[in-house]
Every structure is written in structure tokens, then in C-alpha cells.
């Protein structure tokens, strides 16, 4: 009898083990945590008949039902995303018989999650380019070309975005993304803590060049010997008082974006670069730059907030001072050294894609069109639901604030205007200022465009060289920028290694493409 019980127990355990393996193998949904509750209520069966979207408005309301899934970054609870999705779906269902499902991941995991979802072919329709570079995505077939879709269901987008702007988001002649409506361009400057600036008695308006900044830093060092006048931002001190056009990234630049000289050069071999690095080296010797700056892993805003630094580098645009003040928690002043200008990357910097595995790309484009063109939809996705995520403070000026019992950290749907397709037709927050969007539009009109605006570069042929150069730069770039290496010898070594890594090949390839683009 005892023998029988023992054998039965053994058999039972064996069966349990086998069964447990197979239940674990049952297709686990990678992002099951983000499935919103409303999904089960909506039918997301893709229609067999293609949506006839080129016919009039009447017929779009009579299309077969479909759910467009939108991916986005930023903190937001599943519950709040579901509510916003439901609110937006009410509008889109009436117009297009399409429901919307918004899924958001925190910034820390967004890049990994999205790349994973793209690899596994999980359902998605629209996504922004955070963590998914446009050029790579287009060459890898992760996103769809949009020319035909825009003609079909993206007519407002075609109307509201200029031909020049479309040029900036083309790869191999095909439009691959929709550029966000936000500031297009930037200048370069320093963010400084206002109180200390006042103590030095120097008038910010009098500071126009790096030499003036040097005098300011020396003064600050006198007053506060233990504070680093200039800090690196996560190890990087890579803004220079120059106006170069990066020509789509991956090395090879135009030295001055506003001068009609179309010679592509290796930025690290230019005299300008050498002068700037020599200046940083001098500053580091005098103790004006944070020690071990290149291995510093803290953000500049955190160092300023903690009183460990006085200034950090920054881009400049309308509202940047308010943005940084919120992060630093102190009053700050922006000292601009380079006037804003625009390059292709300014427009292609934040864009939206249609994923390659979207079952109905035409419907996805329809929804993207809706969010871009219609301010009610735009406000919904950017700011959330009125009353829950924000309250209107001033109807006439279009200013909103947090509801009484809430605050920035308690908000279940974080507001990231710059990341959505159109921020300029949404409300402004009271922590900012009401004319921000108008100023942005003015800024865009004023920013001088680069002579190579619209040039998009394709790096397919030089991937090996880019990889090798990336490794060489990893050795020198940050340390040089933070003034930790003696420039004469280090820059020479850097360029030697870059050349043996194939930098010339990249520059030649880019020059070829630029010349071809100019000729067409």
C-alpha cells in the first residue's frame, strides 16, 4: 500500500511538471501589462474589405470597425490611458468608425519595449520616433512609406505641412514620417543660476561670446571656490558656439549652415573644433569645469539644483527657461550665444511613423490626420481629460492647470506636448505662459534655415565605417569636450584613428549624396 502511494505521488508530480511547462509556453504577450481594459470591449477585428477612404465623409463613417493602436512614451497609468482612449474613440468612431487605443511606456523602458514589439510583430499602428531612428527604421523596413497614404487619408497633413518640411522626412525619395508641429530650429546658450549671476554683478545682456562667459565663470569661481562654474550634462559638454549643419547625423558636417559652402568636412579636423577644445582645456586647467566631467553620470539640471554647479550648456528656444526652471527648482537665466537656426534635423527630430505591421495603414493615417488637424483631439491626447487631468484656468487665453487635488507627480496622464504630432493647437499650462505657441510659430518663421535644408542622408553603404568611428569617438569625444586631455596630441591621435576607421569614406559618401541632391 505504501509502495502504491509513493508511486502514485511520483506519477502525479511528473504530470504536474509536464503540464506546468506547457502552460508557461503559452504565448506570453510581452506587453500584456499595458493592455487596457477597454480593449476587450472594442472589436479589433481587421476588416476584409479595404477601407474606402478616398470617398466622401459619409462613407468613412460607414467603414468596417477597426482599432488603431498608438504607442507613446511618458508616465501614464493603464486606467488613465484607457479613459483618454475611450474619450478620443467617441470622436473618431463617429467620424471614421475607428476606435483608438493608446499605450504608454515610461521613458526608461520605452525604447526597449518598442523595439521588442517591432521585432515580434505585435499589433501597432502609430508611433513616434523616440528610440526608433527614422533612417534606420526606413532602411530596416520597420515603417511604411507614406506618400500614397497621405494622398488617401492624410489630406489635412499635406495642406498644413509645407513642401520644404516634407523634404526633411524623406528617405530614398519617399516620405517616411510626419514631422511634429513644434519649434523647428534652435540656438546654443548657457543656463545659469540667476541668484549667483546677480551676485557677480555682470549683466547677462553684455555677454555675447565665449570669452565673456569665461570672465563670468572666473568671477563665480572667486565667489564660490567649491562650486564648478560649468558642469557636464551626463558626461557631455558637446555644445559649441558654432552654426554647423549635421547633415542628417553620422559625421560629416557643413561648418557653417548659413554660408553657401557645400563642402562636407570631418568636424573633428576643423580649426573651429580645435579652438573650442583648446578653450575647454584652458577652462578645465583653471578649474572652471567640473572635475571628472566626462564620467559624470548626473544630469546638469540635478547638479544645478543641488548647488554643485552654476551653469550648463543648452539649446535655446521659446520657453526653454521655464522648462529648465521647473526641473532645477531655482530661478534661472538663459544666455544665448548662437542665434537660432534650422537644419533638416530640426524638423526631422521629432516625427511620427506608421508601423510596418499596421493592418490598415490607411485608417492609421486617418487618425494621425485627425490628431494633427483637430485641436479637440490634439488636446485630448496631449493633456488628457478635462476635469480629471487638468482644469481650464483661463478660457480666453487657453491656459490650463492641475485640478485642486492633484499635482504634477500625481497626474495619471503626464503631458508631453512636444512628443505628439501637434502641440501648437493645444492649451498652454499655467506653469508656462499663454503666448508660448505664438512665440514658437514666430520662432520658426525667424530661425534662419540652413543652406542644406531638406537634404536627407542615407547611411546604408558606410555602416561598417560608422561603427568603427563610433568606437574611436567613444575614446576621445567626451574627455576632450570636458577638457581632460591635452588637445594638441589628443586631437591628432583622434583624427589618425578616425581616418584609419574610414572617416574619409563617410565624408566622401556624404559629399556625393549632397552634390546629387543639389543637382536635382
Amino acid at each position: 500500500m505504501k509502495n502504491f502511494i509513493l508511486r502514485m505521488t511520483a506519477a502525479l508530480l511528473a504530470v504536474m511538471m509536464v503540464v506546468s511547462v506547457f502552460t508557461a509556453c503559452d504565448g506570453t504577450d510581452m506587453s500584456s501589462a499595458s493592455q487596457s481594459g477597454s480593449q476587450s470591449a472594442n472589436s479589433d477585428v481587421s476588416a476584409d474589405a479595404p477601407a474606402d477612404a478616398s470617398a466622401g465623409k459619409q462613407s468613412t463613417a460607414a467603414q468596417d470597425p477597426y482599432t488603431v493602436r498608438i504607442l507613446m512614451a511618458g508616465d501614464a497609468t493603464t486606467q488613465d490611458c484607457a479613459e483618454v482612449s475611450a474619450a478620443l474613440s467617441k470622436i473618431t468612431e463617429e467620424k471614421y468608425n475607428t476606435t483608438v487605443e493608446i499605450t504608454r511606456f515610461g521613458f526608461g523602458t520605452y525604447g526597449d519595449q518598442v523595439n521588442l514589439m517591432l521585432s515580434s510583430g505585435e499589433k501597432m499602428d502609430l508611433l513616434p520616433n523616440l528610440g526608433v531612428a527614422m533612417l534606420t527604421a526606413a532602411n530596416n523596413g520597420q515603417i511604411l512609406p507614406l506618400d500614397d497614404l497621405l494622398q488617401d487619408t492624410g489630406k489635412d497633413l499635406l495642406r498644413m505641412i509645407t513642401e520644404d518640411e516634407w523634404e526633411c522626412v524623406k528617405v530614398n525619395g519617399e516620405i517616411c514620417a510626419v514631422p511634429n508641429r513644434k519649434e523647428h530650429g534652435g540656438g546654443m546658450g548657457y543656463i545659469v543660476v540667476k541668484d549667483i549671476l546677480d551676485e557677480t554683478g555682470i549683466d547677462p545682456a553684455s555677454i555675447k561670446t565665449q570669452e565673456d562667459m569665461e570672465a563670468l565663470f572666473r568671477k563665480v569661481k572667486e565667489l564660490y571656490p567649491d562650486m564648478a562654474p560649468l558642469v557636464s550634462d551626463g558626461g557631455s559638454l558637446n555644445w559649441f558656439s558654432v552654426r554647423k549643419d549635421d547633415l542628417g547625423g553620422d559625421y560629416g558636417v557643413l561648418e557653417d549652415a548659413l554660408v553657401e559652402d557645400y563642402t562636407v568636412v570631418n568636424w573633428y579636423e576643423t580649426d573651429t573644433y580645435r579652438e573650442e577644445i583648446e578653450r575647454h582645456y584652458r577652462w578645465a586647467q583653471e578649474g572652471l569645469i567640473l572635475k571628472d566631467g566626462s564620467t559624470n553620470s548626473e544630469q546638469g539640471v540635478d547638479l544645478l539644483a543641488a548647488g554643485k554647479g552654476f551653469a550648463m550648456q543648452s539649446n535655446t528656444k521659446p520657453g526653454v527657461d521655464i522648462e529648465r526652471e521647473l526641473l532645477i527648482g531655482k530661478s534661472i537665466e538663459v544666455i544665448e550665444l548662437v542665434e537660432p537656426y534650422a537644419q533638416t534635423g530640426s524638423i526631422a527630430g521629432n516625427v511620427w511613423f506608421v508601423a510596418y505591421n499596421s493592418e490598415q495603414p490607411g485608417r492609421a493615417m486617418e487618425i494621425l490626420n485627425e490628431i494633427y488637424a483637430d485641436s479637440i483631439s490634439s488636446n485630448l491626447v496631449v493633456n488628457g481629460i478635462e476635469g480629471k487631468h487638468y482644469v481650464v484656468v483661463d478660457e480666453a487665453l487657453g491656459v490650463i492647470g492641475y485640478p485642486e487635488d492633484s499635482s504634477s507627480s500625481q497626474n495619471g496622464y503626464s503631458s508631453l506636448p512636444w512628443a505628439w504630432p501637434n502641440e501648437l493647437n493645444t492649451y498652454t499650462w499655467e506653469s508656462s505662459y499663454p503666448e508660448l505657441w505664438k512665440d514658437t510659430e514666430q520662432f520658426n518663421a525667424d530661425a534662419a534655415p540652413s543652406v542644406a535644408m531638406g537634404f536627407g542622408w542615407n547611411n546604408e553603404n558606410v555602416l561598417t565605417e560608422i561603427t568603427a568611428c563610433a568606437n574611436v569617438l567613444a575614446k576621445y569625444e567626451k574627455a576632450l569636450a570636458c577638457g581632460e586631455l591635452e588637445p594638441g596630441a589628443a586631437i591628432a591621435k583622434l583624427n589618425d584613428e578616425l581616418n584609419s576607421a574610414g572617416m574619409q569614406r563617410i565624408v566622401e559618401e556624404k559629399q556625393e549624396q549632397l552634390d546629387a541632391w543639389l543637382a536635382s
Partner: protein, 313 residues
């Protein structure tokens, strides 16, 4: 004749009845191995393709060895292979020496509680995350606030050493950190073998008048030989891999140190972070695993020739 058949049938059924539960127990592990380790081998083709998401794995363009170029055609390529190999050889040699020494010392300790206490303490570094370890190292090596500079170098009157800009110290620092982190785990494995050595050998040796050192040299070490061989063979299989955390985090990703701390894994990471090229990174993984496989076959063959008992297979 019939009896013979019936006899055989009964034999077979009896055998099956006895072994079926064992096969069932094997099933989950086998399933896991097949699904997780063998089926994905089909993905090795990605290393030879220009992977396009729309086309999928099988329809993507075949590009031959193009994805491997970035690993071999540059100056860096020689450096990273050299670094990976040399560091791993140092880890294997010094690590094994150290772990065996500690295991033997543990064996020589008298008192069960003392042994357990030491075992627990030396295991702690193994459990600490490498990122935490990199900050512990920073606490020692930092220029301004580090322990070494403040407590040793400056009181001696010398100028402070900027460790994160001086490559010459780092081969030693990395070997030290790796040994410190890993020796607890490996020495306990050797110790487990050590306690299995028959005590009567030691008693016989003591009667014969062997000194402590002679006992260790002639009984303990030969007893450990099979384990040392197996562990070393398995390490050789991984000789082209490296601990990413050790080579990227501990040097704080500092530029000037890259020549001395760049391994194949960190090279691929630094090169492809922006490009996200799946074909190229698969090629790197392919290179590492295929070379490791060939090396382990050769090493095992050599060991089998010398001492067939100690070979892995």
C-alpha cells in the same frame, strides 16, 4: 519460439513501465532546451542577411559575410580580440589558482562553524550587482574623493592619480575586481569536490609521515584535477565572451580607458547603439559562439588524448 517472443515483450514492457516516469521527468527540461537553445539556432542566418522587418527573416536579402566586416577590417578589431582573449586567459589562470587555494585553505580549517562563516562571507561579492561594484570601485579610485588617493597616495606626499584617465592600471584593476567577485562561487565548487576526497588517503599519508604541504600536493590537488579540468574547459568555451558590466560599467565608460578595456561585447554595443543593425550584432554573436565552439572541441580533444577520464565528452 512463442515463449521467446512473449518473454521479450514482457521484458520491454517491464522496462518501459520502470523508465516511463523518468522520461516524463526529463520532458520539461528537454522541452525547455529544445525550445530555448536548439530551435533559435535557425536564427543564425540573420548574421548573413540584411534584416528587413517587412520581409521577415527568411525573405531578407542575403549579404554573405558583409555583416562581419566591422569586426575585422579596422584597427580596433585587433585590439578587441586581443583584449578579450588576454583578459579571459588571465581570469582563467589567476582565477583558478586563487579559487583552488581558497578551497584548500577552507579544507584545512578546523571547526564547522568557522568554515560556514567563511563560505558565506566570500560568497557575498558574487551576489552584488556589477553596477554596484562599479560604484564601489569609484569609491576607491575617484580622483577627488577616492579612498586610494586620499588615504594612501596623498599622505605619501605624491600627486593624486587620475585612475579614470590612466589606462596602465586597468588590466590589474579589472582582473582584481573579477577575481574578487567570482572567487567565492568557484572556490565553493572546488571545496565541494574536496570534501568528497576519501579521508583514508589523508590518514594513510599522516601515518607515513607526510607534511601538510605534501598532503596537499599529492592528495588534494590530484583529487581536484577532474573538477579543475571541467571548469577550465567550460571557461574556454566562453573565451570570446566577456562580462559586459565589468568592462563597460566598472571603468565608468571612460574614453581614455577604452583601448585597454574594449572587448568584443562592448565594441558591438558602442558601435551599434545608434545604428540598431540586427544583422551586424548577430554576426558578432555568431563569431563569438562559433569560435568558442571550435576551441572547446580542440581543447576537449587534447585533454582526452592526455587523460581520457577528465575530458568533458
Amino acid at each position: 519460439m512463442n515463449e521467446h517472443h512473449i518473454g521479450k515483450g514482457k521484458e520491454l514492457r517491464k522496462r518501459l513501465a520502470r523508465y516511463i516516469p523518468l522520461y516524463f521527468m526529463l520532458l520539461p527540461g528537454a522541452c525547455y532546451l529544445i525550445i530555448n537553445n536548439y530551435i533559435p539556432m535557425g536564427g543564425l542566418v540573420i548574421a548573413f542577411k540584411n534584416y528587413n522587418y517587412s520581409k521577415g527573416i527568411w525573405d531578407s536579402d542575403f549579404v554573405g559575410l558583409k555583416n562581419f566586416e566591422f569586426l575585422f577590417t579596422t584597427q580596433e578589431a585587433w585590439t578587441i580580440t586581443r583584449n578579450t582573449l588576454l583578459y579571459n586567459i588571465a581570469f582563467i589562470v589567476v582565477g583558478t589558482l586563487f579559487a583552488v587555494t581558497v578551497a584548500v585553505l577552507l579544507g584545512e580549517l578546523a571547526g564547522k562553524r568557522v568554515k560556514k562563516a567563511y563560505q558565506t562571507v566570500i560568497l557575498i561579492p558574487f551576489l552584488i550587482s556589477i553596477v554596484v561594484v562599479s560604484y564601489l570601485a569609484y569609491g576607491f579610485l575617484s580622483t577627488n574623493t577616492g579612498f586610494i588617493n586620499n588615504a594612501i597616495v596623498k599622505p605619501m606626499g605624491k600627486e593624486e592619480i587620475s585612475f579614470y584617465s590612466s589606462p596602465q592600471y586597468w588590466p590589474f584593476i579589472l582582473v582584481l575586481v573579477n577575481i574578487w567577485k567570482g572567487f567565492g562561487y568557484t572556490s565553493i565548487m572546488y571545496y565541494a569536490t574536496l570534501v568528497g576526497i576519501d579521508q583514508s588517503y589523508y590518514e594513510a599519508a599522516m601515518i607515513d609521515g607526510a607534511s601538510r604541504w605534501q598532503r596537499i600536493w599529492h592528495i588534494t590537488l590530484p583529487g581536484l584535477k577532474p573538477t579543475i579540468t571541467i571548469m577550465t574547459l567550460m571557461s574556454i568555451g566562453k573565451i570570446f565572451y566577456s562580462d559586459f558590466g565589468l568592462f563597460y560599467q566598472v571603468p565608468m565608460n571612460s574614453g581614455p580607458l577604452i583601448d585597454v578595456t574594449n572587448t568584443i561585447d562592448t565594441y558591438v554595443y558602442r558601435g551599434l547603439m545608434e545604428l540598431h543593425n540586427i544583422g551586424m550584432s548577430s554576426a558578432a554573436g555568431f563569431y563569438q559562439s562559433v569560435v568558442g565552439f571550435v576551441l572547446i572541441l580542440i581543447a576537449n580533444f587534447t585533454v582526452r588524448k592526455l587523460d581520457s577520464d577528465s575530458a568533458l565528452f
